[in-house]
């Protein structure tokens, strides 16, 4: 048993009621949900691995495959939708050459969509590594990606 996993599970008093929160913390730590770690969580909480996998595949927030170093999420809430979020998503798909849920070949970016982050008044909005960028336009979306790439000194 990895100490880190135990620490996370103990944070919630080994209480099954906090399974989703536990998985969130694990994903925050490892960037995705590695299978061997999920098996350890199942053991620690005394629940079956199948239950854990049913939960991880039910909730949209979880990824069972490794994600990129940078996560870029496009909000597709109604307010963002009517203000042009689908076009922003198209632009990012083209810029990064990936579809939502995919990761660039160099593992730098994962593109995700989210059904509303509640910043509707400043939509369309994209979230880059947890940072909100409001009143988004097609050209601004390109610069948000560009500035991260510039910092990394990478292309693609």
């Amino acid at each position: 048993m990895r100490e880190e996993v135990r620490t996370i599970v103990n944070r919630y008093g080994k209480d099954r009621a906090f399974l989703v929160s536990i998985l969130q913390d694990i994903q925050a730590r490892y960037n995705y949900l590695p299978k061997d770690i999920l098996l350890e969580v199942a053991e620690e909480l005394h629940i079956s691995p199948s239950l854990i996998f049913s939960v991880t595949t039910f909730y949209k927030a979880f990824s069972l495959t490794p994600r990129g170093k940078h996560i870029v999420s496009v909000c597709l809430g109604t307010a963002c939708h009517v203000r042009g979020a689908p076009k922003i998503l198209d632009t990012l798909e083209r810029t990064l050459a990936i579809k939502p849920g995919q990761t660039t070949k160099n593992n730098q970016f994962t593109l995700e969509t989210v059904n509303c982050v509640g910043a509707c008044a400043v939509g369309p909005i994209i979230i880059m590594d947890g940072e909100y960028h409001g009143q988004m336009t097609l050209s601004k979306a390109g610069s948000v990606i560009g500035s991260v790439k510039a910092k990394e000194g990478t292309c693609s």
Binding site: S54, T78, A79, H81, A121, V122, G134, S139
Partner: protein, 617 residues
């Protein structure tokens, strides 16, 4: 904070904290809500603190980072007290001026003031801005007054007085009677009378009962709950403790969506500080009553806002709802009697206890009492959170508070009630917003999203959007919802891609009827509402898509063409520069043209053109 032993100590502490708030001391409040953070308010806050330090003003001038005051469109928002000098769209570069001119010399900076678009006059005080003037802010007003991470701030404005009153001067029955008389109905959308729910739970068998605050605000386009959770978390906590005492519960959960990290943080701080002060946990205020709350985070599933799916989620399972003939007040979380209320409902409780049912029920309409917070968003000038008395006309909200439609465009519809609601056309704008009037119009109050659409919004696309959204969010347990929405989505894709056929509208209507009848939970049974309401009010748009293969609003990609209007083209080349597919031809100082075969309809040229020369037909 030291533990507060009892009511006497609480009142003394409140008094002391209130007195410490010198009304003459200069305070700069700045919105730290998620919306303003998306516009850079934290950089402004950092700059403010640095500038105050530079001028040795940190003792003299206080900076208070508050929750969302509502006017997100003009964020980052900053107000200088005393005097309530209201500055909008403040950036870090403005900070030096604010300190040197306004703080030190009392001078008003004209360029940062709000300008009324109708009269072109600038307005100094927040209360005079039309966006705020017509609101009745009994809940949101607290957001302006406190730093949500400080229990002291909440206590200084009389926080937890209602709790003391409830615990020491009222019986559980008194509280339930008061809430019933106030006429408070559930703010999550259902509109069930809150007091009745509590009464049923109180009467249910068993000593182990649960209380839940639903902060899983999943409706896209709605962020009222986020505004309260981030801006006034103690209001929710206080309401929940009062509710727990009334129904006899000792354990509660706040279920908050993980997409709201700041709300989770602020609620966590609130719970911890309330516990430390003896306002939560064992023997609250020395009353002998014990109640504690834990935060449960969601996993990005819309369905978990539904009560029985939410219970399943807290029980560590997939969030699948169950049939509603089993009432949560008898068999809810872990099959124990449970009261689940939306966080906005909980935040209303302290107000009712403090000011009484008679005061509360004097606000609103006959059957919908109090105020309601709406998130006014989409194609509207003043986007943000607005709190109005129930019964206000949609027209007043959209035009008087919202300031109408931007860029001289024409209003087309307002969507209320999230994916379960419907689209309301201009002809119905004089409807009062209350639970029953909106339901009769084919929509619903829902949690309070109000998305305004103009003539460039396609109503078929909007209906398709909601069906696609719900199909993705359907838990898959019952066939009508899982398969029905999938098939409806396919029909919509056909209509929007030019493959629509005669009879599609009727097919959508009959499928809607089947889903309404057959779906297990409210997600499915209300899913056809956006479809039926758009067919009801905007049938001509459906027909244009199906018969003429045209999208009148210019949204559905397969049915539109981009072109450049030669007479409008200023030959600047801005469109050509941004075109990712090299579809635009034209040398400098020549009229540009778009090659329809190369055009991928991304909209970049449309956004880049400053002269409205790019047309969509």
């Amino acid at each position: 904070m030291k533990r507060i032993a009892g009511v006497k100590e609480l009142l003394a502490l409140q008094k002391q904290l209130k007195q410490a708030r010198d009304p003459h001391k200069q305070v700069i409040t700045i919105c730290g809500g998620t919306g303003c953070r998306g516009l850079g308010c934290m950089q402004v806050t950092e700059a403010l603190e640095a500038e105050l330090k530079k001028h040795n003003l940190t003792e003299k001038v206080a900076v208070r980072v508050t929750g969302c005051p509502g006017f997100c469109e003009k964020g980052p928002l900053l107000t200088v007290h005393p005097g309530s000098i209201f500055y909008k769209k403040v950036n870090a570069g403005d900070v030096s001026d604010i300190i040197l001119k306004t703080v030190l010399q009392g001078e008003i900076i004209e360029r940062l003031l709000y300008q009324d678009p109708l009269t072109a006059k600038t307005i100094v005080n927040e209360q005079e801005v039309p966006f705020y003037k017509k609101q009745r802010r009994i809940l949101l007003n607290t957001n302006d007054l406190i730093d949500p991470t400080k229990l002291e701030d909440y206590l200084a404005i009389g926080g937890y007085t209602a709790l003391a009153t409830a615990l020491f001067k009222m019986t559980p029955e008194d509280i339930i009677r008061e809430v019933k008389q106030a006429g408070l109905r559930g703010r999550g959308g259902g509109g069930f009378p809150t007091g009745t729910k509590w009464e049923q739970c109180q009467a249910a068998h068993g000593t182990e009962k649960y209380l839940i605050g639903n902060g899983d605000e999943g409706d896209p386009g709605a962020f009222m709950d986020r505004g309260i959770m981030e801006g006034n978390p103690h209001g929710i906590v206080e309401g929940m403790i009062i509710g727990a005492y009334a129904v006899g519960s000792h354990k509660g959960y706040l279920y908050v969506r993980n997409e709201y990290p700041l709300a989770i943080k602020h609620l966590g701080i609130a719970l911890e500080s309330a516990r430390e002060a003896g306002l939560l946990g064992e023997n609250i205020l020395g009353s002998g009553f014990t109640f504690d709350i834990k935060i449960n985070r969601g996993g990005g599933a819309f369905i978990c806002g539904e009560s029985s799916a939410l219970f399943a989620s807290i029980e560590g399972r997939s969030g699948e709802p169950r049939d509603k003939y089993i009432h949560a007040v008898e068999k809810g979380l872990w099959d124990k009697p449970t009261v689940l209320n939306n966080v906005e409902t909980w935040a209303n409780i302290p107000l009712i206890i403090n000011q009484g049912a008679a005061w509360y029920s004097s606000i609103g309409t006959e059957k919908s009492k109090g105020t309601k917070i709406f998130s006014l968003v989409g194609k509207i000038n003043n986007t943000g959170l607005v709190e109005v008395p129930m019964g206000m006309k949609l027209r007043e909200i959209i035009y008087d508070i919202g300031g109408g439609i931007p860029n001289g465009r024409k209003f087309k519809a307002v969507q209320t009630g999230g994916p379960s609601g419907g689209c309301i056309p201009e002809s119905l704008l004089d409807l009062p917003v209350d639970y029953d009037a909106l339901y009769e119009a084919g929509s619903m109050m829902g949690s309070g999203g109000m998305i305004v659409m103009d003539d460039r919004s396609c109503m078929v696309d909007v209906a398709k959007y909601f069906i696609t959204f719900l199909q993705e969010e359907s838990c898959g347990k019952c066939v009508p919802c899982r398969e029905g929405l999938l098939r409806m989505g396919e029909i919509f894709a056909g209509i929007c891609e030019g493959r629509g056929t005669e009879g599609d509208i009727e097919l959508l209507e009959s499928m809607s009827a089947a889903i309404i009848d057959g779906a297990l939970c409210a997600l499915g049974s209300t899913a056809p509402n956006p479809v039926l309401s758009t067919i009801r009010y905007f049938r001509d748009e459906y027909e244009a898509h199906i018969k003429d293969k045209k999208c009148p609003a210019g949204v559905c990609k397969a049915l539109i063409q981009y072109s450049i209007v030669a007479e409008e083209c200023k030959k600047c080349g801005a469109c050509k520069k941004v075109c990712p597919s090299e579809a635009i031809a034209g040398e400098p100082k020549q009229v540009h043209t778009i090659d329809p075969l190369k055009c991928i309809k991304c909209g970049a040229c449309f956004e880049a053109c400053q002269f409205d020369a790019v047309s969509i037909t």
